[in-house]
């Protein structure tokens, strides 16, 4: 299954993908569009990606984390396109026999995705629009 989607995320599908009868817990993380950033109002976000590379990068991260947490089953999907406040932009499901590994693996997954996967967001609000992270650095 691809890691990127243009459609609303259904977190139940993700959980169903990872849960096994030997699992005692799952952690479901969702990143959600909020109505503010750096003191500015946000109404919507446009997510852009270098799709084939982003698929590869997320796949490599999933592979890494699976190697570190062999008992954890992982699923992740990132939404692209135009999202409004309250929409989920990413969902991660991590299932494990015990909760500690599920928490740790899901946390590592979102942190790693934010570091290297070529996905960008343009925030739109009453003050205009801006690509996050571009101003003043490169």
């Amino acid at each position: 299954m691809p890691y990127l989607t243009d459609h609303p995320i259904d977190p139940r599908t993700l959980v169903a993908q990872v849960m096994r009868s030997s699992d005692g817990a799952y952690v479901l993380f969702e990143g959600v569009v909020r109505n503010h950033h750096d003191g500015k109002a946000v109404e919507s976000i446009f997510y852009d990606a270098y799709r084939p590379m982003a698929e590869k990068e997320i796949g490599a991260i999933v592979h890494d984390i699976a190697a570190q947490f062999p008992d954890v089953a992982l699923a992740v999907v990132h939404r692209l396109g135009h999202l409004v406040v309250g929409d989920s932009s990413i969902a991660i499901a991590a299932a494990a026999p015990h909760r500690a590994e599920a928490f740790a693996a899901s946390r590592m997954m979102i942190d790693r995705i934010k570091e290297t996967v070529p996905i960008w967001k343009k925030e739109r609000g009453p003050d205009g629009e801006e690509w996050v992270g571009w101003q003043g650095r490169c």
Binding site: G31, Y47, D48, A49, Y50, P52, M53, A54, K56, H78, S89, I90, I110, I113, K114, E115, T116, V117, P118, I119, W120, K121, K122, W131, V132, G133, W134, R137, C138
Partner: protein, 81 residues
């Protein structure tokens, strides 16, 4: 040789296109291409150092020498999640 240059996010807005074909001389590096973009687009002039670079869908160093048929992309600061 020919290299396909892809533009994403803020760089697509600045360039006004998704991609362009470059005809380059042998030995051209990814950094060389960035320097030419700085000369072409005033909004990039201050960015002496290139952003992250991808060649053929994998991160690469600015010093990477491009080859015929390569796909090059400059990766502005990522903001997924």
């Amino acid at each position: 040789m020919k290299v396909r240059l892809l533009f994403f996010a803020v760089l697509r807005d600045i360039a006004g296109v998704d991609a362009r074909e470059l005809v380059l001389s042998e030995g051209t590096t990814a950094r060389d291409v960035w320097q030419s973009l700085r000369g072409e687009f005033a909004k990039l002039a201050d960015y002496v150092q290139p952003p992250m670079i991808a060649v053929n869908e994998a991160y690469a160093e600015p010093s990477t020498v491009l080859r015929d048929g390569d796909e090059l992309a400059f990766i502005p600061p990522v903001a997924g999640g």
